[in-house]
């Protein structure tokens, strides 16, 4: 069942077009959103989270129209949102901040609210830091506080903008577990630069570039697009779009391989690099012609 529909969405900041004619339909499950910096990912997530209105096109989220006040409130009641960057008001402890956010999410009964706050803090592994000031937490811990408030009330839609930024591998593993379980019933949209997170978690991946959808499909389909375009060699190949020296001392080359190249299985990161690189090359050719 489709839970999110974007139809011809556009958003412009001054003269800069952040999104151009974006069409997208998402259903429950976990979708990864990839793209270079400035691709329009955060703008798209803010529109879905009702923090921003689109200039053009039609948006439907969980069957509601966020352009109307009633629709916005209806979406917000079923939404969990992790913005790309957020600060914290002074004076709050971890518990009191999540508790305050729970009140803003209409958990008015103190006893049930406190139970829920304890549950989400446990979920993100912050139970022991409930009495610590948020300002005194590390970057990764603060990120988990934001994630905890997003999980309040088991939302039907989770919009997460770089949720794994600043998390160590153990925390990321734990987060994958939490999000994987959430994705069994909810629609989860994750914007990230960590392709391995997308490969590990997502059934579907959307790549944005220059405010347009470059790719929309399954992770396997995207990886398949890079088949026969990744090879190992003793040196950086001049035809490679991207190449780097691996820990073995050999070079991993991504691009159009020469004859007889030692092809290897591509990863999602290779497919992403090729997709974005090819798009940039095509755009350059169009500009020249």
């Amino acid at each position: 069942m489709t839970t999110i529909t974007l139809d011809g969405i556009g958003k412009t900041y001054g003269r800069v077009a952040a999104l151009t004619e974006v069409d997208l339909a998402l259903s429950s499950g976990i979708t990864g959103l990839l793209g270079p910096n400035g691709a329009g990912k955060t703008t798209m997530l803010r529109i879905l989270a009702t923090a921003l209105a689109a200039d053009r096109g039609e948006v439907r989220v969980l069957g509601e129209d966020p352009a109307t006040p009633a629709g916005r409130v209806a979406v917000r009641r079923r939404l969990g949102y992790v913005p790309q960057e957020t600060g914290f008001p002074r004076g709050f402890t971890t518990f009191s901040f999540v508790d305050y956010m729970a009140i803003l999410k209409e958990w008015s009964d103190a006893a049930t609210r406190h139970d829920e706050v304890r549950r989400v803090l446990d979920l993100v592994g912050l139970s022991d830091l409930g009495t610590k000031r948020v300002q005194a937490l590390s970057g990764g811990q603060r990120r988990r506080v934001v994630l905890a408030q997003a999980m309040l009330g088991r939302p039907d839609l989770l919009v997460l903008d770089e949720p794994t930024a600043g998390l160590d591998p153990a925390q990321r593993g734990r987060l994958r577990d939490v999000l994987g379980r959430a994705g069994e019933s909810a629609t989860v949209l994750i914007s990230t630069h960590q392709t391995e997170d997308v490969a590990a978690l997502c059934e579907r991946v959307v790549v944005l570039d220059g405010g347009r959808v470059l790719f929309d499909g399954t992770v396997d389909t995207m990886i398949a697009g890079a088949a026969s375009r990744v090879w190992m060699g003793a040196e950086r190949h001049p035809a490679a779009q991207h190449a780097w020296r691996t820990g073995t001392g050999r070079f991993r080359n991504v691009g159009d391989p020469p004859r007889g190249a030692e092809l290897i299985e591509p990863a999602l990161e290779d497919a992403y690099l090729l997709l974005v690189g090819d798009a940039a090359r095509d755009a350059g050719l169009e500009a020249v012609s």
Binding site: T50, A51, R76, L104, E106, E116, D122, V146
Partner: protein, 291 residues
């Protein structure tokens, strides 16, 4: 962690009054725990303790205690309320995407301003109790004092409430309004300076305009040379009805709250109606007070 992940029924949310009450309680707690508010209360305890130690019932002008309330709770409360109001700007997107909108939060912050008002009431009650136990006396004792012995109790009470607890309520309400309309860091300082200036300016004006102030001083204290040295007297200012000044100030408090709520587009029509009613009430009370 496994327990945390075990399915539990989602609690139905409640909107309306229960949410407003929960939010107002949370904001009231934040207000009561704010270091600046606690600092004001701590400083306020010094003259209170001094008054008990001296057993002088507030001295030759017991209304001086309202100055402490107005400044240490009202003015500092302005800054506290401003800071609480602007604090969520740091988490703007989180607050913006919550179902409880900003106008609701503003209303909760206005209700939280009852905390400093309550503190003002406590201090006013202390002043009354102190004066009841050790009746205030002039210096020398023959000099008159503006207190219950010499004036109608309703006038003294109205003066005490207007210059004390109402100032403790009005300052913070104004802080919320300024923060909503000018949500930048320096606006608290600008607001405080403007508030003090606008309070002091009319006090130099001839009556009745001197009462057109956020903190109208309704008590005169003056020193006269007597045979045995200076005589300190205090009296309620003649030509003004303290009860109507109290009404005027309460209308100003309501106007500050309405101004804060009008920052958001929701419920504009009833708010404008309430604002107009309060403005008419303020003008009416002021005219009744001075004529």
């Amino acid at each position: 962690m496994s327990a945390a992940l075990a399915p539990t029924p989602v609690t139905p949310t409640a909107e309306g009054w229960p949410t407003l009450r929960a939010l107002a309680v949370a904001e009231a707690r934040r207000f009561a725990r704010h270091p600046l508010f606690l600092l004001g209360i701590a400083i306020l305890l010094i003259p209170m303790a001094d008054s008990v130690i001296r057993q002088n019932g507030g001295g030759a002008n017991p209304m001086v205690g309202t100055l402490y309330i107005a400044f240490l709770i009202g003015v500092l409360g302005f800054v506290v309320a401003h800071r609480l109001t602007t604090s969520l700007l740091r988490s703007r997107d989180l607050a913006l995407t919550a179902p409880v909108d900003r106008q609701y939060r503003t209303l909760a912050l206005c209700l939280a301003c009852l905390v400093p008002a309550l503190a003002g009431v406590v201090v006013a009650v202390f002043m009354l109790a102190n004066a009841a136990i050790w009746p205030p006396v002039g210096d020398p004792p023959s000099a008159s004092v503006a207190w219950f012995r010499d004036y109608p109790a309703v006038d003294v009470l109205a003066t005490l409430v207007a210059m004390g607890p109402v100032a403790a309520l009005g300052g913070p309400l104004l802080g919320v309004a300024v923060a909503r309309w000018a949500p930048f860091r320096g606006s608290a300082l600008v607001g405080v300076v403007t508030l003090v200036f606008l309070t002091m300016l009319p006090s130099e004006s001839p009556s009745p305009w001197r009462f057109l102030s956020a903190w109208p001083v309704m008590v005169n204290e003056y020193v006269k040379e007597g045979e045995g040295g200076p005589i300190v007297r205090s009296s309620l200012v003649p030509g003004v009805e303290p009860v109507w000044i109290l009404g005027f100030l309460l209308c100003l408090c309501g106007l500050a709250a309405v101004a804060a709520l009008l920052r958001d587009p929701e419920h504009r029509r009833p708010l404008l109606g309430a604002g107009a009613g309060l403005a008419v009430g303020a003008v009416g009370c002021f005219l009744l007070a001075v004529t």
